[in-house]
């Protein structure tokens, strides 16, 4: 059995009180609960305060380019579908710079788990607005308030082909552990959107802001219903934030549909090809 300590690398450099501390603990907790060890999975980090977890978490990892963590992770999964692949990034990297990759990864139902630190700001560059920021939010890059309306990642995921969409809150470690664990266990594309207060640069979406506005989905909620899920995901427009699994359906994952991967992984495979078979068409 592994322990949280086995996954603990350098001491984190996050601000005191940052939601990332809780997320960091929850990720390690979920890995332990799943019986994983640092050699048995691959974590692909985006760039930002969230991505800085690369040095705080022990695992085979890529600290990819900003916005490209998801695109990079798909390659790891295709080459070695036996390796659990987890992506850790922020709302800027996953929904902004990497928005295109996010849409298409949902479509492909790639069997990876995306953990998004959703704090509505770019923390590491000192507090400019992120794509999830509410309309009108003032920041250094939008001194008169942001003109765009926020992206709704949950609706995007539910409608674009993701098969597991959950939301959780950085103030509730146990709930995060449960959501991350279920997301990794799910066969297919899983999104865990984590509402994460940035205590330094976001003075609006604080713990105090979220606490009265988040609520847990009850046992009666049926996550198979896409319309229900869209309805729940839209509640952010009235400042209500459902926590739990909003949407979960079964559909073959991308790699499950590739006959080339039915036996060994691309990494293990040995080839003894008859080149004549590739030459015929050129004669």
């Amino acid at each position: 059995m592994t322990t949280v300590q086995d996954f603990s690398g350098y001491t984190p450099t996050w601000c005191p009180g940052c939601g990332d501390w809780g997320i960091g603990v929850a990720i390690k907790g979920a890995f332990v609960k799943l019986g994983l060890d640092p050699s048995s999975l691959c974590v692909v980090f985006d760039i930002g305060c969230s991505g800085n977890m690369n040095d705080f978490l022990n695992a085979y990892a890529m600290h990819a380019l900003h916005g490209r963590s998801l695109a990079t992770a798909l390659g790891v999964k295709i080459a070695n579908p036996q390796l659990p692949v987890v992506i850790v990034g922020g709302d800027g990297g996953i929904y902004g710079e990497g928005g295109n990759h996010f849409l298409h990864a949902c479509r492909g139902n790639h069997d990876v788990t995306v953990i998004v630190h959703d704090n509505s700001v770019y923390g590491l560059t000192t507090g400019q607005v992120a794509p999830t920021a509410d309309k009108g939010m003032k920041s250094k890059s939008t001194p008169f308030g942001i003109i765009e309306t926020p992206v709704n990642p949950l609706v995007l995921a539910v409608t674009q082909g993701a098969t597991f969409v959950a939301q959780t809150f950085a103030g509730d470690v146990n709930h995060m552990i449960e959501m991350i664990k279920r997301g990794i266990e799910h066969k297919g594309f899983s999104l865990i959107n984590i509402l994460q207060p940035c205590v330094t640069f976001n003075k609006i979406n604080t713990y105090q802001y979220y606490l009265p506005r988040v609520y847990k989905l009850g046992l009666e909620y049926k996550p198979e219903d896409q319309r229900e899920a869209i309805g729940k995901a839209m509640e952010s427009t009235v400042e209500k934030f459902p926590l739990g699994v909003l949407y979960k359906v079964e559909r073959p994952s991308f790699t499950d549909q590739l006959p080339q991967l039915s036996g060994k992984t691309l990494v293990e495979k040995t080839y003894d090809l008859a080149f004549e078979a590739f030459e015929e068409e050129f004669i």
């Binding site: 760039i47 990892a61 490209r68 695109a71 798909l74 390659g75 590739l258 991967l261 990494v267």
Partner: protein, 573 residues
């Protein structure tokens, strides 16, 4: 013997398939070919042409002078008549236009033959294929065999239908122009099996030979065919081919697969390559092997998508922010493309860094015949060299970026029990954790930098010299895809009594300064001429930068068309 056959007509009328069929009729009759197609960036309408140069010897390029022009419309004649001579044969339909020039006219009533048979207009290309085969003395069986292979997938009915139309053309010639038949395609007694391959197909085949296991792409002329070719082969190759959402995803996904331990590659052209550049830099610092195939076309921006140019060499050599080692290879023909593609995968694995294989539309999309035996000899003897890839955790503490004399550190396949590390895009220390420590950073910069030296000492290949540099008065200097036209120009110049040599670079970046200077020391008192398909002489600039060699005289062409041997000959005074 050299004979240039050219067909032209409206886009969408099957010019491409007819051209390739003609080329294969020639190779199956025992000849060598090189072909070249021109087409605008649209699907219907516009003017398409397809040239096939037939020879009894191996050929590497096309030529200006047309020996036979097959006109499926009037444009074909008016646009290309300047390339005709008195002896040129012109196949045309007098119902479409009349010819008053002094050429060998072969009138075939294409329109009325179509009308009579109540056939689709597109069948004219099959009639003219038959007529061409007839006029050039091809064996009837070779012609029909070709039709059969071409349409086999569409069923016996379609095969028969096309065979009938090819026969109409063939018979028409024998009946009306028996006296004009020349034995250009007469079946030879000894026929060596040849492969008719484009540069794109050669890259794809090379990737198969090299056991590339993951390929991602996004369609872009002139390398879209690499994506479709490899995608079509997945069942028998076992490779996974992914058509990604954009070129940024293309290369990052390939880097993920490569990190996981699978040989990976991508293909693109200038615009797509531009989108990949940040990830090339990531591959450099995180030391992830990747093979990038770059088929150049005229830029800037969208440029002239379906034409040819060599405007991206300096961009390729310098692609990526920051300083990191990179290798650029430039094959000159189909044979070199197969072998250097496999070499690129080895170099990427050995040096754990990006390797770019650079070409242009002219080589990417032109077919060249190559003896099958030569290809087989290579593919059957090739063994991948994966460098310092390890499958077991070493007994001492494993350090992904361990400082080493050759600059290369052992690369452990992720997922192996007992260790972990990261492919870190940040500056990092030996164990792969991030650092901002100046001294430790320097150690890694120097470690990566030593890969340049190791490459130059171990795997760098000097240019090939064609001709005798000691007796030559003129020396051509060029890289990669210009090989064919220069070699042909050398022959033509020799016939005129001018002795030339040609220094052909395939390993274009980095260059070994001293060794290259030693070669150029032999060119003192010779007239050195740089030949390039661009306006700035980019390879010349690279030579100046890397080896301090300046070449004053240049033959540059940048109208989107390839450099023809005749043009090189004409510029030699």
């Amino acid at each position: 013997m050299k004979f240039l056959w050219k067909i032209g007509g409206e886009a969408g009328f099957g010019i491409m398939t007819t051209g390739l069929s003609f080329a294969k009729i020639a190779t199956q009759s025992g000849y060598h070919i090189f072909d070249y197609a021109e087409y605008p960036s649209l699907i219907r309408g516009g003017h398409n042409t397809y040239d096939v140069l037939v020879s009894d010897e191996e050929v590497w390029t096309s030529q200006i002078a047309i020996d036979m022009l097959v006109c499926l419309n009037k444009d074909t004649y008016t646009l290309h008549k300047s390339r005709l001579k008195e002896s040129s044969i012109v196949v045309y339909d007098p119902e479409m236009f009349e010819i008053t020039d002094n050429v060998q006219k072969i009138s075939v009533p294409l329109k009325s033959m179509i009308k009579e048979a109540k056939a689709f207009q597109i069948m004219v290309n099959t009639i003219t294929l038959g007529a061409s085969a007839g006029l050039l003395g091809a064996d009837e069986e070779v012609l029909y065999g070709m039709i059969e292979t071409q349409f086999a997938k569409k069923g016996e009915k379609v095969v028969e239908y096309n065979r009938d139309f090819a026969k109409k053309g063939y018979d028409y010639i024998l009946e009306h122009y028996q006296a004009m038949v020349t034995p250009i395609l007469k079946k030879r007694s000894q026929i060596e099996t040849k492969l008719v391959m484009t540069g794109n197909e050669a890259f794809s085949y090379g990737a198969i030979v090299a056991q590339c296991r993951f390929f991602s792409g996004y369609p872009m002329t002139p390398t879209s065919n690499v994506l479709t070719q490899l995608a079509g082969w997945q069942e028998k190759s076992g490779m996974v081919v992914r058509h990604s959402e954009d070129e940024i995803a293309v290369i990052n996904t390939a880097l993920g697969a490569s990190f996981a331990g699978a040989r990976s590659a991508v293909a693109t052209s200038g615009g797509g390559f531009a989108l990949m550049v940040e990830a090339i830099s990531y591959a450099g610092v995180a030391e992830i092997p990747i093979v990038i195939f770059l088929g150049q076309r005229p830029g800037p921006a969208t440029g002239m998508p379906t034409w040819t140019e060599q405007g991206d060499l300096l961009f390729a050599c310098h692609a990526g922010h920051g300083e990191f080692p990179k290798i650029v290879l430039a094959p000159g023909d189909v044979n070199e493309m197969i072998e250097m593609t496999a070499e690129a995968f080895d170099l990427a694995d050995i040096y754990q860094t990006p390797v770019i294989v650079i070409s242009d539309k002219f080589v990417c999309e032109s077919h060249k015949s190559v003896p099958k035996m030569n290809v087989d000899l290579f593919s059957k003897s090739y063994q991948p060299n994966r460098g310092k890839l390890i499958h077991e955790v070493p007994p001492e503490k494993y350090l992904r970026y361990k400082i080493s004399d050759d600059g290369i550190s052992p690369r452990l396949i992720p997922g192996i029990k007992g260790s972990f590390y990261q492919a870190n895009s940040y500056d990092h220390i030996e164990d792969s954790h991030t650092t901002e420590d100046g001294e430790l950073r320097k150690l890694q910069v120097e470690k990566r930098g030593r890969k340049w030296d190791t490459y130059l000492k171990t795997h760098y290949k000097l240019p090939t010299i064609y001709g005798d540099i000691t007796t030559a008065t003129h020396v051509f200097i060029a890289y990669g895809p210009n090989k064919g036209s220069i070699k042909e120009a050398q022959k033509l110049l020799k016939e005129k009594g001018i002795e030339t040599a040609f220094i052909h670079f395939t390993h274009v970046y980095p260059l070994d300064r001293q060794k290259v200077r030693d070669i150029f020391a032999m060119t003192k008192d010779k007239k050195c001429i740089l030949v390039e398909n661009n306006s700035q002489g980019q390879f010349g600039k690279l030579l100046a930068m890397e080896a301090g060699i300046e070449i004053e005289e240049k033959i540059l062409k940048y109208d989107g068309r390839p450099i023809y041997p005749e043009e090189i000959v004409a510029s030699i005074k």
